[in-house]
């Protein structure tokens, strides 16, 4: 094997590209640690960050989060579950939504933008940000938003977003103008190229069988009416309309008159009013998601060509492999898994899919609202330092908190003595 100068090249497919690039030293370190299987150093650093999150008593708690998230991104090049990146982002974003002083802080806005990239519907989140006033003075928000529009092909909206940004006076103005000009240049170029290129004719569509909408589907088979899977050209030749009896009612000519907006002269276009969102949009639509289930509940019998399930008898092997004489039996004999006893491969516990962070924020907001309505009478009050325990990405136990306090106490007299 040829020795590569770059270690990262051997696992280049496992490195997720980041928009801002990766520092090569951090990448090397991360890959070395992964190769050795040495998780202790990683865990120690993680622990240090987590405790810093809780013990921080300075002015700028956002700074700790930002550093933690940056470190996580660089240290876990594959992304994935162990990095907890999405959890961190969600927590960070959630924590400071009420905090006005961070609303137009560049770092906080960038955290939000990163969060939207992981959401299923980024448009919702952008609109929420605008309604809440998060990042409305930052150019980054408008740039990211118009990029989303551009990706979906909605160039008009992309342009309007930039205009909104200019109107609000977002900082830095030059950057906003530069990106706006770039967008306009792209649009012009696109229009010009579409004009100059001859139109390509689409032959393929005519050759492929097309499904027609709202046509009746022929059922197959005599006894069981099975809807055909291959539904091209599924028009039965005539469409039966369903007969409905008209309800007998008073037949006045009292059709409601619909306001004709074309008649009214166009006044000055009104400022679009932003509705106040009662709750931020959910990161994932929980009704559209499926949870994994037990392997033993799922049965997928093989179907032969006739569509009936077939139990294939195991064919005789075409060759006989050489069997080694094995002195030691394998350590774990193959066995059937009883899903009730062994929890491997059983139904996955509903993870944060249902409890999305934004949904939690929503609940918290509702709770706060109801609390204020009830004359400040809160239902429950936790007598332990709940915030500290749950502050970071993972839970901290009380001993860990105590250890942190101990360390800090002992660090301080050392500082005093040296000073």
């Amino acid at each position: 094997m040829a020795e590569c100068d770059a270690e990262w090249e051997l696992c280049k497919e496992n490195i997720q590209p980041l928009r801002q690039g990766r520092t090569i030293s951090a990448l090397h370190q991360a890959l070395c640690q992964q190769q050795e299987g040495n998780h202790t150093a990683l865990n120690q650093q993680k622990q240090a960050f987590e405790s810093e999150l809780r013990m921080y008593d300075g002015d700028d708690p956002l700074d700790v989060w930002v550093r933690y998230i940056k470190w996580t991104k660089q240290t876990f090049p594959q992304g994935g579950k162990e990095s907890n990146l999405s959890v961190l982002l969600e927590r960070a974003v959630m924590l400071f939504t009420a905090d006005k002083r961070y609303h137009n802080d560049v770092r906080y806005v960038e955290l939000w933008i990163e969060f939207t990239e992981g959401c299923s519907d980024p448009m919702d989140v952008f609109r929420y940000m605008q309604a809440q006033g998060i990042g409305t003075m930052q150019a980054a928000l408008y740039i990211a938003w118009s990029e989303e529009h551009e990706k979906r092909g909605n160039l008009k909206m992309a342009d309007r977003v930039f205009q909104d940004g200019v109107k609000c006076g977002a900082e830095p103005v030059d950057k906003l103008h530069a990106f706006h000009r770039a967008l306009q240049a792209r649009v012009c170029r696109q229009m010009m190229s579409s004009v100059t290129d001859p139109q390509r004719d689409e032959d393929d569509d005519e050759e492929e069988p097309q499904r027609s909408s709202l046509a009746e589907l022929k059922a197959k088979g005599k006894k069981k009416a099975v809807v055909p899977i291959n539904r091209a050209n599924a028009s039965a030749g005539y469409a039966r309309g369903l007969q409905f009896k008209q309800p007998l009612g008073p037949k006045h000519n009292t059709r409601p008159v619909i306001f004709d907006e074309n008649k009214v002269p166009e006044t000055v276009p009104q400022e679009p009013k932003f509705e106040i969102w009662t709750a931020p949009p959910a990161a994932r639509a929980k009704e559209n998601e499926q949870k994994p289930e037990k392997w033993s509940n799922v049965k997928l019998p093989m179907k032969s060509r006739s569509g009936l399930s077939v139990a294939v008898p195991p064919p005789k092997p075409s060759f006989q492999p050489f069997v080694e004489e094995d002195d030691q039996p394998p350590a774990v004999t193959p066995c059937k898994i009883n899903p009730a006893v062994n929890s491997v491969l059983s139904a996955r516990k509903p993870c944060r899919l249902e409890q999305t962070p934004l949904k939690m924020l929503q609940e918290r907001q509702l709770l706060m609202q109801t609390q204020t309505q009830e004359d400040g009478k809160s239902r429950e009050q936790s007598m332990y330092c709940r915030d500290l325990v749950y502050s970071g990405a993972t839970e901290f136990c009380f001993e860990e908190l105590r250890a942190e306090r101990y360390r800090q106490k002992h660090a301080r007299p050392a500082d005093h003595s040296t000073n």
């Binding site: 792209r186 033993s296 491997v344 491969l345």
Partner: protein, 493 residues
Amino acid sequence: MSQFGFETDIHNVLRLDMPITNAPMARWQRKASTSSSTNTKTTLSPNKSVNRSVSLSKTPSKTPGKNGKTQNTPSKAGGDRFIPTRNNKQLDVASFLISKENEPVEDSSSTAPNQKAWSVTLNGYDIEEAKILHLGGKPLNAPEGYQNNLKVLYSQVPTPVSIKKSRYIASVPERILDAPDIKNDFYLNLMDWGRQNVLAVGLANQVYLWDAGMGSIVLLKKMEDDNEYICSVSWSKDGNFLAVGTSDCKVELWDVQCQKRLRSMDGHSARVGCLSWNDHVLSSGSRSGLIHQHDVRVADHHIFTFGGHTQEVCGLTWSPDGKYLASGGNDNMVYIWPMTTGSEYQAVHALSEHQGAVKALAWCPWQPSILASGGGTSDRHIRIWNANSGSCISAFDTCSQVSSLVFAPNYKELVSGHGFSHDKVIIWRYPSLTKVAELEGHEDRILNLAMSPDGSTVASVAADETIRLWKGFEKDAIKKPKPTNSIIQQHIR
């Protein structure tokens, strides 16, 4: 005064014995300059990145994190981001200097200072001391509004499906199975669906079998050492034997009926990331870049070795007729090896067009000698090859790391599984290669695909620790054959 310039130009052109100053280079000049400049190791067309990495150990493309512009430079006359301006004069001087080195040195020390003075005045600088090719000027700025096409690596672009589907393809997976602790490594092949409708999955250091017909789960193998892990699983053609490749460089053969390990074959010096069966011959590719062929029937199993890859072998498949073995590696190469019993261990073809690691390889079951291959993060293309001639029939961009390919014979389609940045399963119509459907649902990158033995379902395993079963390829129940109105029958009656 400009008319004089014009007149002189016209005269020069008509006279034909003076070099034309403003015209493009004559063909013989161009040829001379290309031969000289390749000697100086600067290519005239930096758009074509040097792909042959058999001699070089570095892969040529940029790191995935950087915003390189090798693939899409704005083409101005002779200038780009890496070599700003090249004009004819520089190339003339360069070719002169190069060719001068080969000529014998003339012994004229007396006139040397004179010559030097003349050359300095003529050229404006001392040629002897100057560099052969001097690149000056600022790098060109991208045209306004230029968007780097590598943006697709960081963000998902929702793409519309190109044609109306001709059948119903469910957009949600039919079932989702839990696959905890699966190793999130691109280079492993941890899932395979066998002929007897059993799905084998390697999770961390254990191999599980799921019988799709009965729904039962069997823990087949657990490695003793917790630091080792399963790297690849592969069913034999009839589904009786399962080959398991591990990180401690062994290939194990298991009999699934008796649930017994039959043998353990070693010989590799690094983890065995991919396996493929050809009747009784099992091929295994490892991180060392070597592909071993094992005949599982005899005690001395190691028949021969294919060497050619310089980095980890991540994709390995035998063609359905057993003629060719296709292998893809982290060195961006695809090799096609013949089925040999003799002593020729040379690859039939070495395909270097990909610019990312090639793990996704699939042979077409209904057309002989057609191979589909998909490239990694830096490449993102799917290419169709003719294995007999070694030519690339077609290539298209999928905007995302391709981690697995399977052919779906029921409707003649190609299914691809993707990683960074959009984690989808995409169904393409073959051979027109238009997108039929995009199956979303995975929350993290897809690592492997496997097709069910009856061709109706595709299973995809991803780094979000789930296996999703997509049922999109069911064949209709066949119609009852119409009663034949044969003349014979009528006559008999």
